[in-house]
Amino acid sequence: MEEKEIILKVQDLNIEFHDHLIPETVVYDFNLTLKAGEIVGLVGESGSGKSMSALAVAGLLRRHDMKKTGQILFDGVDLLNCDRKVLRKFQGKEIGMVFQEPMTSLNPVKKIGWQVEESLRIHTQLNKEERYRRVIEALENVELQDPERIVRQYPHELSGGMRQRVMIAAAMICKPRLLIADEPTTALDVTIQAQIVKLLKRLNREEGTAVLFISHDLSLVKRLCSRILVMKSGYVVESGETQQIFYHPGDAYTKKLIEAIPAYEKR
């Protein structure tokens, strides 16, 4: 395999909450390298710290009541300790994110078109017509039917699957180099899940966007990712190539997770 440029390097990330009397650490010594165009899966049960790590990478853990140590290097810039202004230049433009709950991640009082083009409005100087063209293009790219109609609709007029596609379109519109997908399929039913996973895979192939895919569903991760990190109660217990982890799991917890997949899907 050819050597690709490393775009994201997380080193020794620790996240500690200080909003209660006793400090509580939720992520211990998290390390991750992500190359351009790669899809990496982050799996683990609820509360294992996977979402926290992802939010930190996205620069969304900017509260003062938590302590973060380590480094998150994106393109050599430390997103964890940089100035807010510097961070904002990356957010939306270089890093996009899709959340778990498509019902609440769109603003209920704004039209779809307005929300999808928000990143363009912030990061580019494009005029209205150019932005509109890009929005239509982006909506077509996530395989939504009739984008001219959808841009004029409000979120409550769309189904969950359609909204998640809209979210992906909004996250991808500036052609970011990294897309963080925080359980993007959990709130959707199985057939839609498969479509979304296929869509992410296609976008990854065509646009070359690296994807950090967070899920507790190992069978989905297996289909999508080339590498996997398994997390449990704040620690990364195992990481490696998907095939290796699936067929030669080293950790007892990973074994349990794999055993939990229904037998039919394992084949």
Binding site: M97, T104, S105, N107, P108, I122, H123, H156, A170, A171
Partner: protein, 272 residues
């Protein structure tokens, strides 16, 4: 999830809203006609017509100077409404900014802003307005300023609670992720979500402002004579309440209808 009906259908079934809209519309029409044309000059005195009763020439009678009450009610209602409108505009504008910062940033800033608001709310708003009038002197514009300032904290509280509700929503997180700055998130992403609540409190605030304006004029610190305003007319009328009951009754009725109209409209908006 609540199924949304067509907006027009929802409104047509909302009897509060319709009654309020009709009432407010009639009052507005009355005031607008008053701006363009009144049957008599509202300030023209007529010694012979003092306390003239209800007649075709003076549908609401005449006051102690022989001025036509209908004409004075028409212009006076306009003054009252104008003062109330300006008051609510000032209160809502600064209240929204105040509440938005307090709710969005939270923490120490919230604490300082809200304790300051509490301190202001601890005074009855009329008393606060009287203090400001005491400082700047009476007059229509000072009344607007005084009531406007007195109205800020109540708007701030309402807006703050809406911002606290919205600021942890996923769509705010995703806006931040798109690189939107704090001000953009506050006023472009969150504020439209608070509009329904702000609108209904604006309508309720309108009532309070109409009443407060009438109260201030009743105390004789608002509009200066010979200008008319509903509150001033009521205060002038009380001396002659037995010799010319119409002088008190007609401005009172218009005042009540105005408040009723806005209350119903406010209820209707909240139900919607």
């Amino acid at each position: 999830m609540k199924i949304k009906r067509e907006p027009m259908k929802r409104i047509s079934k909302n009897s509060n809203f319709i009654a309020g809209a009709v009432l407010t519309g009639l009052i507005l029409l009355f005031i607008i006609i008053g701006c363009i044309h009144t049957p008599y000059d509202p300030e023209a005195m007529d010694g012979a017509g003092r306390f003239a009763g209800i007649s075709w020439r003076h549908p609401m009678g005449c006051d102690n100077f022989g001025r036509d009450i209908l004409s004075r009610v028409m212009t006076g209602a306009g003054t009252t409404l104008g003062v109330a409108f300006a008051t609510v505009a000032i209160g809502a504008f600064f209240g929204v900014i105040w509440g938005a910062f307090a709710g969005y940033y939270g923490g120490l800033l919230d604490e300082i802003f809200m304790r300051a608001a509490d301190a202001m709310l601890a005074f009855p708003s009329i008393l606060l307005a009287l203090m400001i009038i005491g400082l700047f002197g009476p007059g229509k514009y000072n009344v607007i300023l005084a009531l406007g300032i007195a109205f800020v904290p109540s708007f701030a509280r309402i807006v703050r609670s809406e911002f606290i509700r919205c600021k942890n929503m996923d769509y705010v997180r995703s806006a931040r992720l798109m690189g939107a700055g704090n001000l953009r998130i506050m006023f472009v992403h969150i504020l439209p979500n608070a509009f329904p609540v702000i609108l209904s409190s604006v309508l309720i605030g309108f009532n309070n402002a109409v009443l407060a304006e009438a109260g201030m004029n009743y105390l004789g610190i608002g509009v200066m004579p010979p200008d008319a305003s509903l509150g001033r007319m009521l205060s002038e009328a009380q001396t002659y309440i037995f010799s010319a009951p119409g002088y008190a009754i007609f401005p009172g009725i218009v005042l009540i209808l105005m408040i009723l109209g806005f209350s119903l409209l406010g209820e209707g908006v909240r139900d919607n």
